[in-house]
Amino acid sequence: MKQTETLRIGDREYWSRLFLGTGKFGSYPLMRQAVEASGTELVTVALRRVHLHEAQDDVIAHLQLPGVHLLPNTSGVRSAKEAVLAAQLARESLQTNWLKLEIHPDPRYLLPDPIETMLATEILAREGFFVMAYCNADPVLCKRLEEAGAAAVMPLGAPIGTNQGLQTKAMLEIIIEQSQVAVVVDAGIGAPSHAAEAMEMGADAVLVNTAIAVAGDPVAMAEAFRLAIRSGRMAYESRLGLVSKQADASSPLTAFLSN
């Protein structure tokens, strides 16, 4: 079977271009099976205050699989200052410099705050974090995040958890064309076809959570995404044909019965 190119981000190389969020799965065993079926090598986790006097269940124990790395996120923070503290706590808790930076103070659309995200990226990159910055699909912002030291930009396809697909497609195309760091399309990807579309456009990877976790069969859906992303990437590397308005015959146009 033909291999697709590997993806380099920070100090790691990935075979799989599917990054998986671990939220919303009905149970830990289901989450683990979906992680395995997806073929992912990078899974996100969140951080929360420990509720005192309540039994703690260790999600990490269920994510310890060969070749699977953890990507803590900063979900829940509202400012760069809070994000920096969350990142430092994540590093202490999980012993990783990798971070999905997400700062979305607005609870209705969960749209990322570009100014706070920019400030936090500058600080955290200086502190040695591999910052993967969740951001709006704004080509100018993505370049600024790159200059600030982001290891990858994560522009959204649509608001988190909406399954609306690549609503920002025209801007994503510009971001992909211009970026010198990995572009990981995050949020809004609701079906394997959306993921394949992102990969055919040349996105370096996609991050999927809700579409897999809330599917009728999350494990089969994880495999469907794995196949779609591999397929989309292979199509991109094979170079798609040009789109044109006028027909271009696939069969010879010589007359059949007479000249």
Binding site: G21, T22, G23, K24, F25, M31, T44, V45, A46, L47, R48, R49, V50, H51, L52, H53, Q56, D58, V59, I60, L70, P72, N73, S75, L85, A86, Q88, L89, A90, E92, S93, L94, I160, L207, N209, T210
Partner: protein, 68 residues
Amino acid sequence: MIHILVNDDETMLEQGCTLDGLLRQLSMDQLERIAIAVNDTVIRRSDWACHQLNENDRVLVIAPIQGG
């Protein structure tokens, strides 16, 4: 006794209590992947045994959970 806040819950401690002592008091000393900040500064695990808590300290204890 001193008063501190642990994740916004008021907690009373013996004078001179360390972070390790606090975790034992809260039955949280067996948790592997918690991380702690005191007054917004992360205290590394290796320093928990010697970090003494003071009146009105704000202690934040976090742990990983599922998330996207």
